[in-house]
Amino acid sequence: MPKHSLSPRQYLILGVVAVSAPLGDSCLKRGMAALPPITLAHPGALIAAVFTPWVALGIALLIGFFASYLTALSWADLTFVLPATAFGYVIIALLARFWLGESISLERWAGIVLITLGVGFVAQGPSLTEHPAPEEAEAQDVETR
């Protein structure tokens, strides 16, 4: 039993981190692809793009991603959060497969299996490294001597 097991609420936040980033990216991509090419000569077009529905939705999702990502980093290790959130790519690929009926190549299936394995590995371990307070560490040093 790992010392730092997560509460259901914390799993929910990790889930939001995982799903909101790829979903937000997809919304931005969809929104921007629908617009005519934007050049640096007309930066105003970029401001106008922010207020189109898909781009606005993408930005809202990415703000939600950043807020929940910061929250996750406040109680879990970076090396725990990053692989766990990579699972979002798998969720999005599977949604595209079973919901939108997109086909997944053998190579991409292999990627899905590897990410799932990696996330399974990291999820079994503790989510946070225990850093003893300086005086505690000294006390431990004395004990081991």
Binding site: W75, V90, G118, T129, H131
Partner: protein
């Protein structure tokens, strides 16, 4: 993003060293940003507890008054723009997956060195598996 006028004026074949340097710039800035942001959040403490104690405003205040947080965001922004720059010059199917997957491994190394995180065999294995997996899935 992929059909910018800048990309059209560049030669089709790019020196592999230049491509590697562009990808390295994205990976370095993004790893620096992630580590600084993670250090900032660790220094603030459990945000859920802060929010339960002093509300959403209190939690936001705790984050925006932390100087390390701005250092992290600065490097994450730098990483974002260097990714845009790289995407302008390199093939999207190379630059995107390459930076996303390499960052996982560099973060494991940086997390161990700078954040003193306990990157055990389980986490190394996970970083490498997810790294290869992200590359295959996004390629």
């Amino acid at each position: 993003m992929t059909t910018s006028p800048l990309a059209a004026t560049l030669p089709a074949a790019i020196n592999p060293w230049v491509a590697a340097a562009m990808i390295a710039a994205v990976v370095l800035t993004s790893t620096t940003g992630e580590v600084l942001t993670a250090a900032a959040m660790k220094s603030i403490g459990d945000l859920d507890m802060i929010r339960a104690h002093s509300g959403l405003k209190g939690a936001i205040r705790a984050v925006v008054t932390c100087p390390l947080f701005y250092a992290g965001v600065f490097f994450l922004a730098l990483a974002f723009f260097s990714l845009l720059f790289a995407l302008n010059h390199l093939n999207l199917s190379l630059a995107g997956p390459a930076t996303a997957s390499l960052t996982l491994v560099t973060n494991a190394i940086a997390g161990k060195i700078f954040l003193k995180e306990n990157v055990d065999r389980r986490r190394w294995a996970s970083a490498v598996l997810v790294c290869v997996g992200v590359y295959l899935l996004a390629h």
